[in-house]
């Protein structure tokens, strides 16, 4: 059976919840998904298409939230975060009107669409605002969990979904409430990743085990702001950390990890991997792995960087 995408897993869950809760509404900026077709047909009164108008999407969703609706705003990630950033800042950060912003195409999900569609700033930008929580999704189990959790949140929640199918990492029923989960255990070092690119970390760890005999711990940070306590507990005893993300290195998840360490007076070697400004935006075509390779964040690149780091 073909693996469904994170967004379909997410929307399937929202559909089920919306059947029982008429206050759940989807506000889309003309963005679809196979799973949303059913929602549109079965629940037309809870499905609002504002057209390609992201600013209005955030405004209308916020207005709906003021009348007690649980509004999910949906579009391609760079457009529903950056195009309407000031609306999010005023309505959802300053006023703390709770909505769920669902952006699809995290990182290089729209691999061949070019830099306008690559979402490589959202972690840095969205985490700069109070009252906005980022949930950077790494597999379908997590997508389903946060679909349900979104219906209970009292602040704004940005769901960062991948566009491409992602291998299952977690078992059904995994508890994601801490914002930090350990995927693999090891004592020789630690790779912390977020989103679908965590699969590159898993692959790199396997290579490093085979070629270097290293046993690496792999941690998934999916909720930002980072849960310092949970993070510190997980990294206790590891000699070094490599962070990995499909976001500019500047201000991203790796920076958040550094901040957490610094604020808690933990001093240890950390290498941040992601997109370096010097490399610029990507015009590499032919698949996501080639893009990763160009930034040195494919499994081979990670293996190499870890060896150099050591």
């Amino acid at each position: 059976m073909k693996q469904i995408t994170q967004r379909d897993a997410f929307w399937n869950k929202i559909y089920q919840l919306a059947l029982k809760n008429k206050d759940i509404v989807v506000v889309t900026a003309d963005m679809g998904a196979p799973s949303l077709d059913r929602f549109r047909i079965d629940l037309p009164g809870q499905f609002i298409n504002v057209g390609i108008a992201e600013q209005n999407a955030i405004l209308v969703a916020s207005g709906l939230a003021m009348t007690g609706k649980r509004a999910f705003v949906y579009a391609i990630a760079p457009f529903i975060t950056l195009r309407c950033l000031e609306q999010i800042r005023v309505e959802n950060s300053i006023m703390n009107i709770p909505i769920t912003i669902v952006g699809v195409g995290a990182g290089f999900g729209y691999e061949d669409s070019g830099p306008t569609h690559h979402m490589v700033e959202d972690i840095s930008v969205m985490r700069a605002m109070p009252n906005v929580t980022i949930n950077s999704i790494s597999d379908n189990v997590m997508a389903i969990y946060f679909a349900e959790a979104s219906c209970k949140m009292t602040n704004t929640n940005y769901i960062r979904l991948d566009r491409q199918p992602s291998p299952d990492i977690y078992r059904k029923g995994h508890d994601f409430s801490t914002g930090v989960s350990r995927i693999a255990d090891g004592k020789d070092g630690c790779i912390i990743a977020t989103g679908r690119i965590i699969n590159n970390a898993i692959e790199a760890a396997k290579k490093l085990n085979k070629n270097r005999g290293l046993n690496l711990k792999i941690i998934d940070i999916y909720t930002l702001p980072v849960n310092d306590k949970a993070l510190l507990k997980e990294i206790k005893g590891v000699p070094w950390i490599v962070t990995l993300e499909e976001n500019w290195i500047t201000g991203g998840m790796g920076s958040a990890v550094l901040e957490a360490l610094n604020d808690n007076a933990v001093c240890m070697p950390v290498k941040r991997m992601g997109l370096a400004f010097e490399k610029g935006y990507s015009y590499v075509y032919g698949g996501r792995n080639l893009i990763h390779k160009s930034y040195g964040i494919d499994a081979d690149g990670i293996e190499k960087a870890v060896c150099e780091f050591l």
Partner: protein, 290 residues
């Protein structure tokens, strides 16, 4: 047509509100006096003219009509009216934008009776449309009023919302454009022409009325019977107004945007404003220049 007596009463109130708004800004040494002054009659009619359903005792009452001041810089006008209605004590106005004060230059949601925090333009209108849509979904009968600045109509998001509202037949949404013809640096028609405004809104699917925004007769005529309107289209009132209305030397002068008169100018402003006094025999405000 409203009776002469009703209009006279509203004029009396509008004078007091404009006076208190000016006093509040003079004391603070800041505040958008001219932008506030242009929409005093509109707000007075909504709150005191029997248009809006609201209860100062219960600011959160679910059945209240929502007033979204999308031109959040006119907060002094709204704050003064809300305190006049009894939403909060008048003494709170004395600390406007000062240490220990509860509110500042731009609109703040935490103030009783205020629906949104606003200062950045092109926001409130879309929120108002979302509220109106939510009301339709829940079959709630309250109305949502959005007061827009004409300069705000340069924001693209205004037209995103305008399209959305008419398509979704939000006839429970009323937009009022405070058409004072001035922006920050110049008259709108010198910047980028906003006219023909009626045609623009009509082409976006709105029921359009154009009035003199300082005439209670015309405001009440345009908004009277608002709950029994037959059209399924949302309604926009384009209210021609004067930026700085009532204070002659500040009126229609771009340089007075966003500021309050200093001590010397303030005296002249009060004198000028007193022309609007109805000079009632039984005046209850002994503290105001007649």
């Amino acid at each position: 047509m409203k009776s002469v007596r009703e209009c006279k009463e509203l004029k009396r109130r509008a004078y007091h509100i404009r006076h208190d708004m000016l006093k509040m800004c003079v004391k603070a040494g800041t505040g958008h006096v001219t932008s506030s002054s242009s929409c005093i009659e509109l707000l007075t009619a909504l709150y005191h003219g029997g248009i809006m359903r609201h209860d100062p005792e219960k600011p959160e009452w679910g059945g209240r009509d929502r007033l979204i001041l999308s031109k959040g810089q006119a907060s002094p006008a709204l704050y003064t009216i809300l305190s006049d209605c009894g939403y909060f004590p008048k003494k709170d106005l004395d600390k406007f934008a000062q240490a220990g004060g509860k509110f500042g230059v731009h609109l703040q949601k935490s103030v009783p009776g205020v629906e949104i925090t606003c200062g950045s333009l092109g926001h409130g209108f879309g929120i108002a449309a979302g509220i109106a849509l939510g009301a339709k979904m829940d079959r709630d009968l309250f109305l949502t009023f959005a007061i827009l600045g004409d300069g705000e109509c340069y924001e693209g998001s205004i037209w995103e919302t305008a399209m959305f509202a008419s398509h979704n037949r939000l006839n429970n949404l009323v937009a009022i454009v405070d058409r004072n013809h001035l922006c920050v640096t110049d008259f709108t028609e010198n910047l980028i022409s906003l006219e023909p405004m009626e045609d623009k809104w009509r082409s976006f699917g709105w029921d359009v009325r154009r009035i003199n925004g300082h005439s209670f007769d015309e405001i009440l005529d345009s908004l009277g019977g608002i709950r029994n309107r037959c059209s399924s289209d949302p309604l926009v009132i384009i209210a021609d107004t004067v930026k700085g209305k009532g204070i002659d030397f500040m009126s229609n002068v771009p340089l007075w945007h966003g500021i309050a008169p200093g001590a010397k100018d303030a005296e002249e402003a009060y004198v000028s404003l007193s022309e609007m006094c109805e000079k009632c025999d039984n005046c209850i405000r002994k503290d105001i220049r007649r």
